[in-house]
């Protein structure tokens, strides 16, 4: 039986960002085992097959509850970095204190100021492109890359809302990097055929060639073994054979669906485990412009609207983040082909206890994912769009606009299920991503999110992983 200093489960953002910082501080003799359930799929492989992995994620879990609800993730080397659209907003300061400020949800055990240096570090690793002219959240340094080019409608909205409409921060390169060409606005980011977006394979792939790492592909972690409140190793299956590896530290970074599933199968039960599953809820808006052409931007999503995000309304309904799309769609009207705009309005959900991931007694090979409904808080946020959108669209010459009558089935974010907190009674992991009872088990990812915010979670996942690794090396917050 092999013994390692660290066993890492998964190769997505949480695992990889943790590992990157860990290796910077680890000695030359450490031994790290990385277990990745999927295979390596090159960009060419993915584009040719129009999918990110040979494993169909839809067959990897048992869906229950709301029929129209879907979940989107990827099983393969690099995890969600293959299929992500590379949108990288930070959370807003008040996202970390929703309960204190607005009396809803719960507060995070960390605040924005503690996260800021790790946000910055994650942005530098990913070489994020973002606004050079103010941001909705405080920053200690400029973005590493200049902003993407606005569309003409973006510019009009910016003129009307200078403090609320920004170029979307993104890991779709504005300028070529050492590993990636610049984005060419082809708008198929989930497959990015030119590898212009940050992915684990593009930018951290070399890390996995470090001689200290043993990377096992197509090795599915099954159970974390514990003894006396200490993780002792991981049982995994590869090529049909179950093997146990011993480890001094276990870093669980599958995702917010499989982390609680593996933990539950490992006997790490907790009243909160698997519960409060959530993600944002969104709907699309089509705006028919009058005399203004669109789609001059340099990337798939150009505008980012914060006018309905933070404020007293959050005591009544969910915050809304708006994305302005630059993916061309056309009107069938000569001379007005491009006088159309698509917005996505993304509303935060309040995590609810009954939405959960669990293990089925009948089939323990897959997680059961039960989502009953979005919260009333989120649905009031969607309903508020009827009143809010005309305020935004007053910035544009608009002929008419249409809000979709349906909600998008998923935002491809899985959050909650291993919630972080200071009180072991009402949280699974602590502020440093360490399991409350098993102190040599770290749980990465957006499962830690006590509340979701309307912003995309990936940058926060990455920053939390860097922060957790820093804490392990004594560089964390003084409050830790």
């Amino acid at each position: 039986m092999e013994t390692f200093d660290v066993i890492v489960i998964g190769t997505g953002f949480g695992s990889s960002f943790y590992l990157r910082k860990y290796l910077q501080h680890a000695g030359p003799g450490v031994r790290v085992l990385v277990l990745e359930r999927g295979a390596v799929h090159t960009t060419e492989w993915q584009v040719a097959r129009k999918r990110n992995s040979e494993i169909d994620y839809n067959t990897a879990y048992i869906k229950q509850g709301l029929a129209d609800k879907a979940w989107r993730f990827n099983i393969g080397f690099g995890g969600g970095s293959n299929c992500w659209v590379a949108c990288t907003p930070r959370l807003m300061p008040n996202d970390f204190r929703l309960k204190s400020v607005y009396g809803v949800g719960r507060d995070w055990p960390v605040d924005y100021d503690e996260m800021e240096p790790f946000y910055q570090e994650a942005e530098e690793i990913m070489e994020i492109s973002g606004s050079a002219d103010g941001t909705p959240f405080p920053r200690s340094k400029p973005y590493p890359q200049p902003p993407h080019r606005f569309t003409d409608p973006d510019r009009l909205i910016k003129a009307a809302f200078p403090d609320a409409w920004f170029p979307q921060p993104t890991a779709r390169a504005r300028k070529a990097t050492a590993t990636r060409p610049s984005c060419c606005a082809n708008s198929i980011c989930h497959l990015c055929p030119i590898s212009a977006k940050f992915t684990i394979a593009n930018d951290l792939g070399d890390m996995y060639r470090d001689p200290r790492i043993t990377l096992l592909l197509q090795a599915e972690a099954l159970v974390i073994e514990t003894s006396g409140g200490t993780a002792t190793g991981v049982v995994y299956r590869k090529d049909g054979v179950e093997t146990t590896a011993r480890g001094d530290l276990v870093v669980l970074g599958a995702n917010a669906m499989f982390n609680p599933f593996i933990m539950a199968k490992s006997g790490l039960e907790h009243p909160m485990l698997g519960r409060y599953l959530h993600e944002q809820v969104s709907t699309n808006v089509t705006v028919y412009l009058d005399g203004v052409d669109n789609f001059q931007g340099s990337t798939a999503i150009t505008g980012h609207g914060y006018m309905f995000y933070d404020g007293p309304h959050r005591s009544r309904h969910g915050a809304c983040l708006i994305e302005g799309f630059n993916r061309p769609i056309f009107r069938n009207e000569p001379g007005r082909w491009r006088q159309i705009m698509q917005l996505k309005c993304i509303v935060e959900d309040l995590p609810q206890e009954h939405n959960q991931v669990s293990v089925s007694p009948a089939d323990s090979s897959k997680p059961v994912v039960r989502f009953e409904a979005h919260s009333d808080y989120a649905m009031r946020g969607i309903a508020a769009l009827d009143e809010l959108l005309p305020k935004l669209l007053a910035a544009l010459p608009v002929e008419r606009f249409k809000i979709d009558s349906y909600l998008n089935p998923t935002e491809a974010h899985i959050q909650g299920t291993t919630v972080m907190g200071d009180d072991p009674a009402d949280s699974v992991i602590d502020r440093n991503m360490v399991h409350h009872r098993v102190r040599n088990l770290l749980v990465m990812g957006s499962g830690a999110f006590p509340t979701g915010a309307p912003a995309n979670p990936t940058l926060t996942i990455s920053a939390l992983a860097l922060r957790a690794a820093a804490h392990q090396h004594g560089q964390g917050s003084q409050r830790a």
Partner: protein, 154 residues
């Protein structure tokens, strides 16, 4: 990793079109291929004021029939081929089930979209006249960096 220069791609595509563009013909000229005739009818209907060389148009049509998405849409183009006049004959279209009519409109919208993304339609200046050239097939899975609308200046 595929690395393509969008500018180089657009320039090479335009140069090719110019060579092929001798002997301009109206889009309404009949062609042997019935599927092609449907595509031609859609383009003529939605862009009545433009011209395109037969060579460019044949390249666009061939690429569309090669790369068009979805078996359903492919089937509908074949249906249009088997029923000459489907693209323009309103009586014939009206005889089809409503669901088929809706799918036909979706195919026509797709042809329009791909045509706009495949040509220099949006790159022309007013003084360039009505002739449109084929640049590269306007599907990023086929031509990753061929978005004719995107701008990359500051």
């Amino acid at each position: 990793m595929i690395r393509l220069s969008r500018r180089a791609l657009l320039i090479s595509g335009a140069a090719g079109a110019a060579v092929a563009g001798t002997g301009l013909a109206g889009i309404g000229v009949a062609r042997a291929s019935t599927a092609e005739s449907m595509i031609r009818a859609v383009i003529r209907d939605r862009f009545p004021d433009i011209r395109m060389s037969d060579e460019d148009f044949s390249r666009f049509t061939a690429d569309y029939l090669t790369y068009m998405k979805g078996e359903g849409r492919r089937w509908l183009v074949r249906l249009a081929g088997w029923m000459p006049g489907l693209g323009t004959n309103d009586t014939l279209r009206a005889s089809l089930p409503a669901a088929v009519q809706r799918r036909l409109v979706a195919v026509e919208d797709d042809i329009m979209h791909v045509f706009l993304m495949s040509t220099d339609f949006f790159l022309r200046r007013p003084e360039d006249g009505p002739t449109v050239s084929y640049l590269a097939y306007g599907d990023p899975l086929v031509s990753p960096c061929s978005n004719p609308l995107a701008s990359f200046d500051a």
